[in-house]
């Protein structure tokens, strides 16, 4: 590891992408992720890559599709309204089975919303977002260091599974400054590139497509995709558990909310309450194995989100049927504070 630097999340994401071997960045300005785009504009050409400010989000994601189709690591970034526009391209990339990295530094919605932090795109990110049956690998950083680590992981997983990796950060994560250590060199794993378009020299022409009109062929593709997603679900679940052994109540949160929950947990522990924290790192695949095991022992859960209750549905689905799952959330730029979480937790524990 190199020396410690104090950087903002947006910048950390950019530097990590370059370290991960990204050669093309295509993006359109939107707050609160503009620092990321500016960083790529400044640094990616110096690293021998291509930076292009696009005419739209649609163009950006389709340029990523083009670059990925010819086997070059590429990415785009945006914030909520812009990511809605990218859904078309993401669905095509899923059907095409080509990799790519998309960053969503979420802001408040619906509509134009505001530029304050939010986690309201959880459903969009984890349940599909665009049309058709498909999944993205979704990673949720909660520190600036994790922005670095997960960006590097995102590229690796995208190539490994030929899927879109989506980094679902919130506005706080993009803007917040923390010390980070960048790896001096990233060991970029090579996966088979027998699908890329590099000219049909001495081989049959390759076609990257998602249109299958012949009866049954599209069903075959979908079956193959679902089998792949089942394997990803089996192999790629990631989470962090803190103080869950013997806990009466486990807080469940990701991103910014996990930080507030950790503070709340410490306060509650000081009050003598046995409270733990479960933090999904992969939002898809949801870390159901570890959460399921926790729910064998702990029965009370409090899910904290910056939305109206989205991840809470996955928590309910993946805890034992006798689990008592509660929710506390704020919307439209509101951030749950540690005292609010402590109060809600005590309410549940005192029942």
């Amino acid at each position: 590891m190199g020396k410690k630097l104090l950087v903002a999340g947006n910048e950390a994401l950019g530097e990590a992408a370059i370290l991960a071997g990204a050669k093309c960045y295509f993006g359109y300005p939107i707050t609160p992720q503009n620092e990321f785009t500016a960083y790529m504009a400044s640094k990616l050409p110096e690293a021998g890559g291509i930076f292009l400010q696009t005419e739209s989000e649609l163009a950006a994601i389709n340029m990523v599709l083009g670059a990925s189709a010819v086997g070059v690591r590429s990415l785009t970034s945006s914030s909520s309204p812009g990511v809605s526009l990218k859904q078309e391209g993401i669905s095509y990339m899923a059907g095409d089975e080509i990799p790519g990295v998309v960053v969503n530094v979420q802001r408040g919605g619906p509509g134009l919303g505001n530029i304050a932090p939010s986690q309201a795109d959880y459903f969009q990110a984890t349940k599909g977002g665009g049309h058709g049956d498909y999944r993205n690998i979704v990673l949720a950083p909660h520190t600036v260091q994790e922005c670095v680590d997960l960006m590097i992981l995102a590229f690796d997983l995208a190539d490994k599974w030929r899927m879109v990796s989506l980094i679902l950060a919130d506005g706080v994560m993009g803007q917040m400054m923390e010390p980070v250590e960048y790896p001096e060199k990233v060991d970029i794993k090579q996966y088979p590139k027998d699908y890329i378009l590099d000219g049909a020299k001495g081989r049959k022409a390759r076609i990257i497509r998602s249109l299958y009109l012949v009866d049954g062929v599209l069903e075959e593709l979908n079956n193959r995709l679902q089998a792949k997603y089942a394997k990803v679900k089996e192999e790629e679940q990631r989470s962090e558990s803190d103080g869950v052994d013997g806990a009466e109540l486990v807080l469940v949160a990701c991103g910014m909310c996990a930080r507030a929950c950790r503070d709340a947990m410490r306060s509650l522990n000081k009050q003598g309450r046995k409270v733990g924290l479960f933090r999904p790192i992969t939002l898809w695949p949801f870390p159901e194995k570890v959460l399921g095991a926790i729910s064998e022992k702990t029965k009370k859960f409090l899910v904290v989100e910056m939305n109206a209750g989205q991840m809470v549905e996955d928590v309910k689905l993946n805890t034992t049927h006798d689990s008592d799952v509660h929710f506390y959330g704020r919307m439209g730029g509101g951030i749950p504070t540690p005292p609010e979480i402590v109060e809600k937790a005590n309410e549940i524990l005192n029942k």
Partner: protein
């Protein structure tokens, strides 16, 4: 009895054109334009480094015919996909093949900006003044008064505006190096189309930048006419609105 006359092949299928049954309707111009593209690829010897970008519309199955690597684009996004390809791998040859709905309606933004950046790829724009695959709806290039499924009383200026002249629109931009409108309604114009498409690919090989050839083409099925009348429709109705010729050759 042998006369000793040597057989000479004077006409054959281009190498880059697959030997498959065409899905296009009788009298459709796509077959002619596909063949021209394949001939050009052969003549320039670029098949093994060419990537085509297929559109949405009748010619989405382009890759069934042209024997080179290919990727499908979402409706209208072919110029963005081609931009990604060429920025990532400038050594490859890339062309988009787009219809009027794809390029001049849903993909107007992408084509204008790719052309304006002078992206080094080639666009073949097939204008037959109608949506083919979806069954004959109005295109942005549908003529005033022309009937379609969605303009049953004819395209009205008051309701739908005027046909979009793509070449003239793009000719207002600084960056494009080659813009030409041709037609495939008769042999003379087929030959001119080939010359233009050859130039449009050669420009890319030479690294000059963005080239577009708009080809006026026939869609007798959705115009509800026979193939012969289809050719006449191009020469008599379309050409006066979309004048043939070169607009830019830098």
């Amino acid at each position: 009895m042998t006369t000793g006359t040597k057989e000479e092949i004077v006409f054959k299928r281009p190498e880059a054109l697959n030997e498959v049954v065409s899905h296009y309707c009788p009298g459709c111009g796509h077959g002619i334009i596909h063949r021209i593209v394949a001939e050009v690829i052969d003549e320039l010897g670029i098949r093994e480094k060419t990537v085509s970008v297929a559109p949405v519309g009748c010619s989405v199955l382009l890759y069934n015919y042209i024997d080179c690597d290919s990727v499908e684009a979402a409706h209208g996004r072919a110029p963005a996909v081609a931009t990604g390809i060429k920025r990532a791998r400038p050594d490859l040859i890339c062309f988009t093949y787009q219809g009027d709905g794809d390029l001049a309606a849903i993909g107007t933004n992408e084509i204008i900006h790719a052309a304006n950046r002078g992206e080094n790829f080639t666009t073949i724009f097939v204008n037959n003044a109608i949506y083919g695959m979806t069954g004959g709806q109005m295109a942005p290039t549908t003529l005033v008064g022309q009937r379609s499924e969605t303009t049953p009383r004819g395209r009205s200026v008051a309701n739908e505006g005027y046909p979009i002249k793509v070449c003239e629109l793009l000719n207002t931009l600084e960056a494009p190096v080659f813009i030409e409108r041709t037609s495939v309604h008769d042999v003379k114009n087929v030959r001119k189309t080939k010359k233009a498409i050859l130039k449009a690919f050669q420009n890319q090989i030479d690294g000059k930048g963005f080239s577009l050839v708009e080809v006026l083409s026939m869609c007798p099925t959705n115009w509800r006419v026979d193939p012969e009348t289809g050719c006449k429709f191009v020469s008599e109705k379309m050409v006066p609105v979309f004048p043939l010729g070169n607009l830019r050759d830098k």
